[in-house]
Symmetry: C2
Subunit: 152 residues, 2 copies
DNA sequence: TGTTGTTACATGCATACGCATATAAATTGG
DNA sequence: CCAATTTATATGCGTATGCATGTAACAACA
């Protein structure tokens, strides 16, 4: 049982862990961003398709989707226009809120996400699959999940 | 002793850990990127100052610095011009290689990095300081260090 | 030593980005 | 039920970005 911390961890230990996590992420992404699956779609665009796919019901409002992304709301708005023009997602009015747009993947968008996703998974696995043992990956998953769920 | 894995971890366990790490990073960065310390300098620009500060000797060639960043070489080249114009870094010819530019922080650049860094550390700590126990942060640091060192 | 290839950095160009703001719909408070 | 506020998305505008390519210096090798 990984008990919730009662006394907060010291600043140094916390920041060292954060910087290490951040640098690991950069190192992996640097490698993977050069792979051919990101020639048709940028990583940011793929991330939008990915998040749309895993969101409950496969639909999301623009603002809700934006919460899982680092780009600004206006940038996402225009990216959605581009992805719509490419036939990958649809943008339809939300019946319960006339301001909102419900975004969802088209069949083509789902296919593209899955195709890129397969390649991406392959390349991530090539990069880090032997870096840690199975138990260590499970630990890493648990620690980062716990970290994430503590945000806000 | 955290033994180096002899048999690679299964794909699912590896990818689950990676996605969890990635999402945790996004969640933290989303919160922190809105903080006022990034009004004077963007996060990407701060990251350049940070990496210049911690690199051995406080000097680095542009290409070497670029290895620790997600932006492209041309983008870094222009960002360096802007940071030079702001008086934060210097760009001088490498005596051992006429093609290369040695980058280093000016005293002002160091001061700006440290000032932003202090605020940044404070806000990261506010976001995640109580998310994990001290032991868990140490584990997280060790796992992500190991992950990073395995890239390549 | 000259040719061929590679490496380091810079630049032209089209595009994506963020910030500020506009618009329009929902919510809140009197 | 109307005015003020908040929320959801879009757009104008200046700037940063990536890709392709240019230039110049180094390296390798005949």
């Amino acid at each position: 049982m990984t008990g919730t911390s009662n006394t907060p961890a010291p600043v140094k230990v916390t920041i060292d862990a954060w910087e290490s996590l951040f640098r690991a992420q950069v190192a992996v992404m640097r490698k993977v961003s050069a792979k051919p699956e990101f020639h048709k779609l940028s990583m940011r665009e793929y991330d939008v398709l990915f998040n749309l796919r895993i969101c409950p019901g496969g639909r999301s409002r623009l603002v809700d989707l934006n919460r899982y992304l680092l780009i600004s709301q206006p940038s996402l708005s225009r990216m959605v226009t581009r992805l719509e023009d490419k036939g990958l997602i649809t943008r339809e009015a939300d019946p319960t809120d006339q301001r909102a747009m419900q975004l969802s993947l088209t069949p083509k968008g789902l296919a593209v996400q899955q195709e890129i996703g397969r390649e991406h998974v392959k390349h991530i696995y090539e990069q880090i699959g032997t870096a840690l043992s199975e138990d260590e990956f499970i630990q890493l998953q648990q620690l980062t999940s716990k970290l994430r769920s503590a945000i806000q």
